[in-house]
């Protein structure tokens, strides 16, 4: 116990003596932790939004208006025979109108009622086992004909709706955002690591006399190293605590207020306590790593 207090008091002494680089390192660690603390919920939210969107994606197979019951039965059988097809729902012309009526409101609803006849086609709603198999199923529904153009598997099929571009776009955008954020976070992590390493390096230089004396009187290597490691971890912890404070204020002031809006109810996918633990852990690991690198390079014992 007395050793532990010795290490901690030595570390604090060193931090006080070289305040400027220590503060630079603490602030950088703070900013990094803050960014990571925002990133984790955002990534989680975009991830869940992404799967949500992808789960909604199915294929819609529209039929010509003169499709008979036999045609419908035949097409249903054909679609069911395709790999990766999870379910097939027939939506008749009448059902299509009902669905449309459910979606629109006001004047449009009234004008729908005034419609004579039903302009909507009957269709099959095809759901897939995995959104990634969308293209395969689509190709099976419309294999390439003799002239190279896609040809529906049944002449009664008027159109297979093409959700390809839509899904790809969603996938690309969320993917890009994730990569972008991860790159920024990685760069900042690197900056924190190097700044902590630099702080420790300065500390080793400032305390070279202490190190020399410790070696002369026979302090063990780890007894010499520990104060520096503790110093690095203290820098990391202080930075992390600042970041967590800012995050908490942000949570109370912004996120909790916005939570009532449906738009970002995803935002609360990560609860605060585990997030804090993850951030503290990450900051400690990064700072211990930063000190470790420097000790290996600059503390010749």
């Amino acid at each position: 116990m007395s050793r532990f207090t010795f290490f901690v008091s030595e570390a604090f002494r060193a931090l006080r003596r070289q305040a400027a680089p220590s503060i630079a390192a603490i602030v950088t660690v703070g900013v990094t932790t803050l960014l990571v603390g925002v990133l984790i919920p955002v990534l989680r939210a975009s991830e869940s939004k992404n799967t949500e969107v992808r789960e909604q994606i199915g294929l819609r197979v529209f039929l010509f208006a003169d499709a008979t019951k036999d045609d419908i039965k035949q097409v249903r059988g054909q679609i069911k025979g395709i790999d990766h097809v999870d379910g097939v729902d027939y939506i008749s012309k009448q059902e299509a109108v009902q669905i449309l009526k459910g979606r629109v409101e006001g004047d449009l609803k009234e004008s729908l009622n005034e419609l004579r006849g039903n302009p909507l086609p009957a269709s099959f709603d095809v759901s897939l086992d995995d959104p990634d198999n969308l293209e395969a199923v689509q190709n099976d529904l419309q294999p390439a004909g003799p002239n190279g153009k896609p040809q529906p598997i049944n002449p009664i099929i008027e159109e297979v709706n093409d959700a390809r571009s839509e899904t790809n776009q969603i996938r690309e955008v969320t993917g890009d955002v994730q990569i972008y954020l991860v790159v920024i976070a990685t760069l900042l992590l690197l900056a924190s690591l190097l700044l902590i390493a630099n702080t420790i390096r300065l500390s080793i230089y400032a305390r070279r006399r202490e190190v020399e004396v410790m070696r002369l009187v026979g302090a063990t290597n780890w007894f010499i190293r520990w104060p520096f490691v503790v110093e690095g971890i203290l820098v990391g912890l202080m930075g992390a605590l600042i970041a967590i404070g800012v995050l908490w204020v942000g949570k109370v002031l912004v996120v909790d207020q916005l939570n009532s809006f449906a738009l970002i109810d995803n935002f609360s996918t990560v609860s605060f306590a585990p997030l804090v633990l993850v951030l503290l852990g990450a900051a400690v690991v990064v700072s211990a790593l930063g000190s470790g690198i420097t000790l290996r390079r600059f503390l010749r014992i």
Binding site: V213, L216, V217, A219, F223
Partner: protein
């Protein structure tokens, strides 16, 4: 911890204490010499030879000088004994232990049993006298009770009990060296190495430091002093080991050695050098052992 302890080593050829110079205190009988070099050679990276085939042996309780011009290998000898540098060939034994065979992790244990004093004191400027000495005990993990007991005691021995809370820059050169000696001796190591301990000090202050080293020697500690202060070496009348270009050129027993007390020593040397009583360091006026 028992590296330089009292246990007997298996008898090796040539490890019997060879008496050179004055007899050490009687308790050194039958134990391996505290320092023994056999053809020790140190080669620095780049090919510079620090020491070349040096063989010598220092018994427990001896007081010996190592002299020679700059670059003769005096400091290399000290560095080799605390395994700061390793011998390229030959053997270096401390209390019968071959330094080459001490694993790197045990080197700190070796250094705990060897006190070292340097010309530039190596004190920590932002710590008080007390903290400087206590630091040496703290970093080897000594319990607090032991630190509280040992530090004032050793500061009394070096005569600095009244300057306990001063910082090094408030002390004279001689007083700073006393702090440094206190720090090196607070563990009561059986071997004390001093590299030019009076190199920065005036003759009067130097006598005080030598008297202190002699006092430590009288407690049974082997003291090895590297110096080029010819006059002091002559006055001390102790064993002199002379090095030149890394080679041992002379190993001479103390001429006219007398078993005098530290006070007698100080009085005699002052008289011979024609200097008066040292006024500013109170430690020298305390009676010797």
């Amino acid at each position: 911890m028992a590296l330089l302890g009292t246990r007997q080593r298996r008898n090796r050829a040539g490890s019997k204490p060879r008496r050179r110079g004055e007899p050490g205190p009687a308790h050194s009988e039958g134990r391996p010499p505290i320092v023994e070099l056999r053809d020790a050679t140190v080669v620095y990276p780049g090919g510079h030879v620090g020491l070349e085939r040096v063989s010598l042996s220092v018994d427990r309780g001896e007081f010996a000088f190592v002299v020679g011009p700059t670059g003769c290998g005096k400091s290399t000898l000290i560095k080799m004994l605390i395994r700061e540098v390793e011998a390229a060939s030959g053997r270096v034994l401390i209390a019968g232990r071959d330094l080459e065979r001490i694993p790197a992790g045990k080197v700190p244990m070796l250094r705990r049993r060897i006190g070292t004093v340097f010309q530039d004191f190596k004190l920590l400027p932002n710590r008080t006298v007390y903290d400087n000495v206590a630091y040496a005990l703290q970093v080897i993990g000594a319990p607090r009770s032991e630190i509280r007991r040992q530090v004032p005691e050793i500061l009394r021995l070096v005569g600095l009990q009244s300057k306990i809370h001063n910082y090094p820059d408030q002390l004279s050169g001689g007083e700073q060296q006393r702090v440094s000696i206190a720090r090196s001796f607070v563990n009561h190591p059986p071997l004390l190495l001093a590299d030019e301990p009076t190199g920065n000090l005036d003759p009067v202050t130097s006598i005080g430091i030598m008297q202190l080293l002699y006092r430590i020697n009288r407690t049974g500690t082997t003291v090895l002093v590297v110096t080029h202060d010819r006059e002091m070496v002559d006055k001390m009348r102790r064993r002199v080991i002379a090095l030149e270009e890394g080679r041992l050129v002379r190993d001479q027993a103390g001429a006219g050695y007398t078993d005098e007390s530290t006070t007698e020593f100080a009085l005699r040397v002052r008289a011979e050098m024609g200097v008066g009583d040292e006024g500013h360091t109170n430690g020298d006026s305390t009676p010797g052992r």
